[in-house]
Subunit: 203 residues, 2 copies
């Protein structure tokens, strides 16, 4: 019942995460019947982005310009550098934390068995950046997994060998969760990382 072009479009929509056969069908019918202008906009935006977007020269975030909007901004604190594994982590931090420094996006984490070493993560570029002299503190926000922790350890060594302070975001029980359902590793970290209560820690 589908013509060849529509069958191909149905298949093509399946590349999107979370889109199964029924959603693909709904999307195709919606664009064909109710929003052709929107469909054209999507097609052109997609091809333009795929053709032009690469990585920021300085922080490896996705951008079509030499520097991403954050690196190009004059309003960010140039002395703070937060290291994240991927663009989604950067976005999560930007959307929730009042962080005003810069970032470095590893695009992965150390995983020798999968062929991901220092080169793949751009650690030479990061080291050169630390040599630049602007950075005062490196904030490690890699994931709380074995590989993420190994990655943050390697980067903290890069920082300390240059006399730059390094810190890691806290591992602990998620706010709003039930303590009894936290796994033992999380609880162990939460205990080890407990903070003294005083006037200045109230939030």
């Amino acid at each position: 019942m589908w013509s060849p072009l529509l069958r191909e479009l149905l298949q093509a929509f399946r590349v999107l995460p979370g889109v199964g056969p029924r959603s693909a069908q709904r999307m195709v019918l919606h664009l064909m019947l109710h929003n052709r202008t929107g469909g054209e906009r999507l097609g052109h935006a997609l091809l333009a982005a795929l053709e032009q977007v690469g990585l920021c020269d300085q922080c490896r975030m996705l951008t079509e310009e030499r520097l991403c909007p954050l690196c190009a901004s004059t309003e960010r604190d140039q002395s703070l550098l937060c290291v994240v594994e991927n663009p989604a982590d950067l976005i999560a931090i930007e959307q929730s934390v009042g962080y005003r420094g810069l970032y470095f996006v590893l695009m992965g984490r150390l995983s020798p068995l999968n062929g991901v070493g220092p080169t793949e993560l751009g650690l030479e570029k990061l080291a050169a950046r630390l040599d630049g002299g602007d950075i005062r503190e490196v904030i490690l926000a890699t994931s709380p997994t074995m590989e993420g922790i190994a990655t943050s350890d390697a980067i903290s060594m890069l920082a300390s060998s240059r006399g730059i302070a390094a810190s890691r975001i806290a591992f602990g029980v998620p706010v709003g969760s039930e303590l009894e359902f936290s796994d033992s590793g999380t609880l162990r970290h939460a205990f080890a990382g407990r903070a003294a209560l005083g006037k200045d820690t109230a939030s």
Copy 2:
């Protein structure tokens, strides 16, 4: 934190039904980081379909050819014509019923207040098709709403004035539903449309 091209792409993804800001972000990151080939395929398929797909000359289903695959098929029963409101209804019937006849897609239902009259629904084309002499029975599968029923009444008159049999799909309680939650209109139709039980109605 998003570059201009990516911000435009995020917005463009929002034209898809069921896609909010978070899914759009997930789609953009997935295509940019993990499946650029799939993204290009989607972009090209979308623009090609939007440029070339129109309506079937005979049944008004979406297709880029003069006749859609169903109308062009030699294996369908040319004497049966099922009238539906939109392509999604045609697809639902094709996917579940063992129907082997042809279709006519109204692309709407009579709704004078919204400017949808016989012309918008292609009823002249449908009448000409009925005049052709091939059709033996018209099966009305418009929606069980006031406007859908008015539409099917109008078409059943087109058929009967030409001596062609017209039938309407049954309104009744959905299979697998709880009887107590059926609305009164549905129950009234289910009672009025009850079928005698006998050897030949067992399914």
